[in-house]
Subunit: 218 residues, 2 copies
């Protein structure tokens, strides 16, 4: 099956929104910066190809075939991000846009070679799991920094953002994968959490804390 770049991005978006549940037209439109009317059109085409199950006004889910493609594209994306960071010295806030384009244009050969060169990594520079060649997703932490208690110490495992300003901010304050954070204060009035990284104090908004996933302990 040879799909267009656009179709691949739709399948990936449906996978990432839905994660099993069905994705709505407007969520897909939002994520792809496209008009909802365009989404309806594309969903019909994807349903025609048996890549999604689509019920008018009810949203879509991926079929087995659609899910397989979504995972392949996601594997490309995250392997490329990892390669850019490891082999070419990109920062974690620079990798996303490059990977977003390249994911559609590399060959299986390229995929296999960079995977091997990197030692078949399981996580990308943001801690996102890289689907394996046979379509399985390595486990990820779902504990959010936002839910950690005052006094606890946690380890950063994943940052669920593609926004380069946010990523740069975090990096500059020492918040990177593997960093140990001590939660020194939760202010529920200002929705702010104060953490200490090494000896540096950082104030984080609740919004940011919702996209930082951690593991208890250090």
């Amino acid at each position: 099956m040879n799909l267009s770049q656009n179709m691949e991005d739709y399948l990936k978006a449906i996978f990432q929104i839905g994660h099993g549940e069905s994705a709505s037209t407007s969520e897909i439109a939002e994520r792809l910066s496209v008009n909802p009317a365009s989404v309806t059109g594309m969903l019909k085409k994807l349903a025609e190809l048996k890549l999604v199950e689509y019920v008018s006004y009810r949203g879509v889910t991926l079929t087995h075939a659609g899910r397989k493609i979504a995972l392949e594209v996601l594997r490309h994306h995250r392997l490329i991000e990892t390669y850019l960071a490891e082999a070419l010295g990109y920062e974690w806030d620079q990798v996303h846009d490059e990977a977003e384009r390249l994911e559609h244009h590399i060959s299986e050969e390229f995929e296999d070679r960079i995977a091997k060169m990197l030692g078949d990594p399981l996580y990308d520079p943001h801690g996102d799991p890289i689907p394996t060649k046979d379509g399985r997703l390595p486990p990820v932490s779902r504990e959010r920094l936002a839910d950690a208690n005052e006094g606890e110490t946690v380890t950063v495992r994943r940052v669920g953002s593609e926004d380069s300003t946010t990523l740069r901010f975090l990096k500059e304050h020492g918040i990177r994968l593997g960093a140990a954070l001590r939660i020194t204060k939760r202010d529920d009035r200002t929705h702010t959490i104060t953490v200490h990284v090494q000896r540096t104090r950082v104030d984080l908004s609740n919004d940011v804390c919702k996209i930082i996933f951690v593991e208890r302990g250090s």
Copy 2:
């Protein structure tokens, strides 16, 4: 100026056919595996954008702006080929197809990083010159093995083919960049040239000898 992948490939084709002279509709169609009628349509659009000078029934030449883009795409192509060979262990017969797609999708950032990593190479794995960032082409040999005399010894500098079967054949017989060839026999009846690489004898058709460019001496 943001051009489509297709437009970029047209400009590159015109550059490579013409090299100063004008390119004909059918040559472009041939090279891009596209219908001549489609070429006419595209040439009009490119002329509209002032990227080519187009006279109906008379062919096209690149404008300064068009040439600049062609050189940029060519730089991408050849840098990527070089990168694939040097950094990822591709063979010289595997690099072309991958580069043909990727050339349109990498960022300036990516271009700069791989160029730097490779030490700003001047030639790709086939000995083709890599345009510099400011659009200048390193010099190349135009001496064809086909024109070498019996008894001479020459050094392989460039192989002007993208055909992987040809490239694999040459590689397997020790004919690679830098290899020293002694022309031991020219048979003008069978249009065959016999050369010795190291101690191995290889018979080459005249067609192949026309795409092998050499430097006199070893």
